[in-house]
């Protein structure tokens, strides 16, 4: 186990290097620069700005300057927010996005796995159809529609909860968590159901049943372990996706998280910020995929 973690950690370094390299050259060749604005800046000012951020050097040179800075833990200043460093921006947004993602994934697992379990155990009955129909609806409705709809109903018509903010007014965390969690809950439900159907057909379950074990024991101890494999494989990318993809929900509900910085950086051509968030998110993805693999092998001893 520890050697696996260690090996994966070593393997992560070249992955990160590849990501940095590809992203670096991609952002520098994308059209539009960080200082393009609707009021065109004069040539003199542009030169001044380029010099300040080392953008007047050849790109390969900038690349090595950047790499050596990153190795020393310096991700540079943001171009969009000149008085903030990339590290500062990430550290401001991260705890909020992390909190949002965590609540959402708990919501998703709780709702999704229970719904999937119920339908998987009684396939092709109304215990199956109702949760699965809802799950499909959850997947179909994009958060850009779900968020404003929930806000309209619960925020404007019923006036139960605030429509914007994060931790300012009591109750303002409810709608964002539901909005972000719903689609993932639906995925979990469908994957759990699929996994359960798969596993309940297998010989060892039949053996367990034949041995006269109670149905609850068969389901919760034997079947659920294997039946959750696809869910677990999905959770790794899902957690990373939740963190990186919380952009829409953050925008819809005005949450000052990292997802907005990530997407806005791309639109603003904020080179250092794009690279900083990319490195950060790549590390997260690698980390969560590792966790997912570890959990998978814990659930399925044969894989060790």
């Amino acid at each position: 186990m520890i050697s696996l973690i260690f090996r994966r950690f070593l393997a992560a370094l070249p992955v990160l290097l590849v990501v940095i390299t590809v992203t670096f050259f991609m952002v520098h060749s994308a059209p539009g620069g960080p200082f393009d604005a609707d009021k065109a800046v004069s040539k003199e000012v542009l030169e001044q700005l380029n010099e300040r951020y080392n953008l007047n050097e050849p790109v390969w040179k900038q690349y090595f300057i950047y790499l050596s800075n990153v190795v020393q833990g310096d991700f540079g200043p943001s171009f969009r927010y000149p008085s903030r460093s990339v590290t500062e921006l990430i550290l401001t947004g991260l705890p909020i996005t992390f909190e949002l993602a965590l609540y959402s994934i708990i919501f998703a697992i709780f709702i999704g796995v229970s719904a999937g379990l119920i339908s998987g155990l009684k396939p092709n009955t109304s215990y199956d159809y109702v949760p699965m129909t809802l799950a499909m609806a959850g997947i179909c409705i994009p958060s850009i529609i779900l968020g404003p709809s929930l806000s309209l109903v619960f925020g404007i018509t019923l006036q139960w909860v605030p429509v914007s903010g994060w931790g300012d007014i009591p109750g303002d965390k409810i709608l964002p968590v539901i909005t972000l969690g719903t689609a993932y809950a639906a995925y979990c439900a469908r994957l759990t159901r699929g996994g359960m159907l798969e596993i309940l057909n297998q010989d060892f379950i039949r053996t367990a049943r034949a041995k006269g074990l109670s149905e609850t024991r068969v389901v919760l101890v034997h079947a659920l372990r294997g039946g959750l494999t696809p869910v677990v494989a999905f959770l790794g990318p899902a957690m990373a996706g939740l963190l990186a993809g919380s952009f829409v929900v953050e925008t819809v509900f005005g949450i000052p998280g990292l997802g907005r910085f990530y997407v806005e950086a791309a639109f603003n051509r904020d080179y250092t910020m794009i690279l900083g968030t990319t490195i950060f998110f790549s590390s997260l993805i690698i980390f969560f995929n590792l966790i997912a693999d570890l959990v998978a092998s814990a659930l399925n001893p044969k894989l060790r």
């Binding site: 059209p31 997947i139 404003p148």
Partner: protein
Amino acid sequence: MANTESSLYEDAFRRLFSNKLSLFSFCFISFITILAILTPWIAPYDYAYQDLDLGPSGPSMAHWMGTDVLGRDLLTRILYGSRISLMVGFLATMVALFIGVIWGTIAGYAGGKIDTVMMRIVDAMYGVPFIILIILLMVIFGRNLVLLFVAIGAVEWLTMSRIVRSQVRSLSQQEFVLAAQAMGVSSVDIIFRHLIPNTVGPVIVYATLTVPQIMLLEAFLSFLGLGVQAPMSSWGILIRDGAVSMEEYWWLLIFPSILFSLTLYSLNFIGDGLRDALDPRTVQN
């Protein structure tokens, strides 16, 4: 050999259609597809024709699904939109499916160093910022629908490959694969004959989940200028535009959403039916 295979698929189809829901769904998808193909001949109006004096109006005899803010017939726009959305949805899912399944199976079956390298490549690709990638692709290749599929497929296969790989890894430890290996069956045969068919379940489930994602992603790509250009539309674009004015002009959101959801439900039921029908274990029984 050929004989048993054809009977296997015949069997599968027979069982697929014995499931009423699947049958109904299949008919619905075929219907929508035919409508999409015939759109240029059957659409009541021109998709770009505006009636600015009329403006947004609710469903009526002249416009069954109402008109949008520029007074364009919504039914026509939905029909034209279905062409784009169905094409993008299916083709991109195919691309994702194809790459993802093969990549995941090879990695899962080979294990060891090959697995590590292949999965680390997947990790790296997850990390590359998608928006910048799209903007660059657009600059390099210009605007182009084929490119759109490639771009979408190139992103969506990642999760697919992880799911397939984890499935294959647990399968490859099972007796029937070990038995096949002991009998000297070639790896290629094992992969295509034993492993891939056995991953069908989760793959189909995930694929039916991928189609809606892709259809909606297409709307986002249009935002970046890579998708379809106005005045052409797609379901994703219609739904996104409809969402903005859902309080004022409900029909602009409801009609595209209903059609979108029905299509996805149908795909989903077909997927479920297919999985049950194609599952080698159920065949054995």
